[in-house]
C-alpha cells in the first residue's frame, strides 16, 4: 500500500516538471495561436545557456539561472519580433514549418557548440536531499521544489493576466487581435513580450530538468511531446489545467514504471490517448472559441 502511495506522490512531483515544460507552450498558443514545435529544443537551449553561464562565470547553478532569465527573455523577444511575427496570419502552416526548422537549427547548433555529450547541472548536496513524509514515504527536495515552483509560476502568471494592464492586453489580443490594435496595443510587441515570458518559464524548466537528469542536444523533441500532452490533457488556455495535465502524465508514467520499468514512457502516452478519446477538448477547455 505504501508502495502505491509513494508512486502517486512521486508521479505528482514529476508532473510539476512536465507542467513547467508545458506552461510556456500553453502561454504561446493561448495568446497568439502559435504552435511552437521548437519548444522542447528551446528548453534544452536554456539548459545549455545555464551551463555556459556556470562554466564561464564560475557561479553556482542558482546564480546561473538568475543570470539566464533575462538572457532567455531577450532570445524569446527577438525570436518572436524578428522572425515568428512574420509567419503569423490566417494560415497555421507557416509558423509550424518555421518552428520545425528552428528545432533542427537549435539541435544542430547546440551539437556544434557543446558536442553531443551528455551534460548535467551540478547543484551539490541538495540534488540527493530528501524529506521523510512519514509512513515510509520520502520525497526528494528537488522534485518537491519543482512542483512548488510550477504552482508559483502559475500563480504569478495568473496575477499578471488578471491584475496588470499588460495581462489585460494579452487577453484582449488573444480574443481579437484586430480590435486590440484599436486600443493602442501593438500586437507585434505584445507577442514578443509573451514569447520572452514563455522563455523565462522555459529557463526555469531547464534548471530543474538539468539538475534532475542528463541532457544533450537531441532530447528536445521528447520534452515537446510531454509538454504537448500536458497542455492537451488540461485543455487549451487553462494554466491550472496544464498543471493537472502534467500531474496526470507524471502519475501515469510513474505507475507504468512501477509495474515494469520499460513501461514508463508508454504509460504516459496511453493515459494521454485515453483522455483524448474521453474528453477531446481536455479537462478544462476554454468556454469559447
Amino acid at each position: 500500500m505504501t508502495g502505491w502511495l509513494s508512486v502517486l506522490v512521486h508521479g505528482t512531483l514529476l508532473g510539476g516538471l512536465y507542467a513547467l515544460f508545458a506552461i510556456g507552450l500553453s502561454l504561446i498558443f493561448g495568446i497568439m495561436r502559435l504552435v511552437n514545435l521548437a519548444h522542447g529544443d528551446l528548453i534544452v537551449l536554456a539548459a545549455f545557456v545555464i551551463l555556459a553561464v556556470m562554466t564561464s562565470f564560475g557561479v553556482d547553478v542558482l546564480s546561473a539561472l538568475l543570470i539566464s532569465l533575462p538572457i532567455m527573455f531577450v532570445i524569446g523577444f527577438a525570436l518572436q519580433y524578428v522572425i515568428l511575427n512574420q509567419t503569423l496570419g490566417r494560415d497555421i502552416l507557416p509558423p509550424l514549418l518555421v518552428t520545425f526548422g528552428f528545432s533542427i537549427i537549435i539541435q544542430n547548433g547546440l551539437q556544434e557548440a557543446f558536442s553531443a555529450d551528455s551534460q548535467r547541472l551540478a547543484a551539490g548536496a541538495i540534488e540527493t536531499a530528501s524529506i521523510q513524509l512519514g509512513g515510509g514515504i520520502a520525497v526528494g527536495v528537488m522534485p518537491l521544489l519543482t512542483l512548488l515552483t510550477a504552482i508559483g509560476v502559475i500563480f504569478a502568471l495568473n496575477a499578471l493576466f488578471y491584475w496588470a494592464p499588460l495581462g489585460r492586453a494579452f487577453r484582449a489580443t488573444s480574443d481579437d487581435p484586430l480590435t486590440a490594435q484599436l486600443m493602442g496595443i501593438d500586437n507585434r510587441r505584445i507577442f514578443a513580450i509573451a514569447m520572452g515570458i514563455a522563455m523565462i518559464v522555459t529557463a526555469i524548466a531547464a534548471f530543474y530538468l538539468g539538475i534532475r537528469a542528463n541532457f544533450d542536444p537531441s532530447i528536445g523533441p521528447a520534452r515537446l511531446i510531454y509538454a504537448f500532452e500536458a497542455v492537451i490533457i488540461g485543455g487549451l488556455g487553462s494554466l491550472w489545467g496544464t498543471l493537472l495535465g502534467g500531474i496526470i502524465l507524471g502519475v501515469a508514467q510513474t505507475i507504468g514504471a512501477h509495474i515494469n520499468p520499460e513501461w514508463q514512457i508508454l504509460a504516459g502516452h496511453v493515459a494521454f490517448l485515453i483522455i483524448l478519446i474521453l474528453r477531446p477538448r481536455g479537462l478544462f477547455p476554454r468556454a469559447f472559441d
Binding site: 484582449a172 480574443d175 490594435q181 496595443i185
Partner: protein, 235 residues
Amino acid sequence: MSLLETRDLTAHYRDLQALFGVNTRLEQGDTLAIIGANGAGKSTFLRSITGLLRGAPWSIVFDGEPIGHLSAAEIMKRGIALVPEGRRLFPSLTVEENLLVGGYGRTGSGHWNISTIYSLFPKLRERRHQASTTLSGGEQQMVAIGRALMSNPRVLLCDEISLGLAPIIIRDIYQALPKIKETGTSVVIVEQDIQQAMKVADRLYCFQKGRISLAGSPAAFSRDEIHHAYFGTQK
C-alpha cells in the same frame, strides 16, 4: 487648419478599389456624419483613418501631420479612437476590464476615466464585473463607446452605433453624444440611419460607390437631394 483631413484618399482590397479620392475635413469640436448605402465605402473610410488599412502618408492629415502610413496602435496613441461596427468587445474580459483596456495605449489628459464613464452610462456600473457577453446589445454598445472614450481621444469615430438596436435604446445612446461633445471631442458618426445622423451633425458627407456624392451642412439639403446622393438615382 482642420483637425482631421483626408486628401484624395484611396483604398484597395487587393485588386478591388474601394475608395476613389475622398476629400473630407473635420474641424475641432465638430460632429461629422457620414451616410451611404451598404458597400459605399463608409467602413473602408474608417478603416483607413484608424490605420487598419494603410496608405500614403499625406492622404490622411491629423493635426497637421501625415498619419496615412501609421499603424492602428500608433494612430490611436495620437488620439483617434474607434467604436467599431458590431461593438467587438473582448469576450474574456469583464465590462470594467473592457473599459480599462481602452486606455491601454493612451489615457490622455481629459474628462474621461472609469468613474466618469460610469456616470455617463450608470447601467454599466452595476454590471462592471460581469462578462461583456452577458450584456444586452445596448449595454454592449455603451461599453464599446466607453472603451473608446477611456483614451480621451481628440476624435471619436463611431461606426454604425445604432445597428441592430431598438429605437428606444438608440435614443438612449445618442443622448450621450452632447455630453461627449461638451468635453471638446470631435465626433465622426457613420450611420445608415440618416435621420439620426442628420440630427446631430454639423456637417454631412454622403458616400456612394467609393466617392463622395454630397458634402455640406445637413440643413442645406432637401430630402430629395439626399435621396439621390444616397441611392445614386437620377434627378
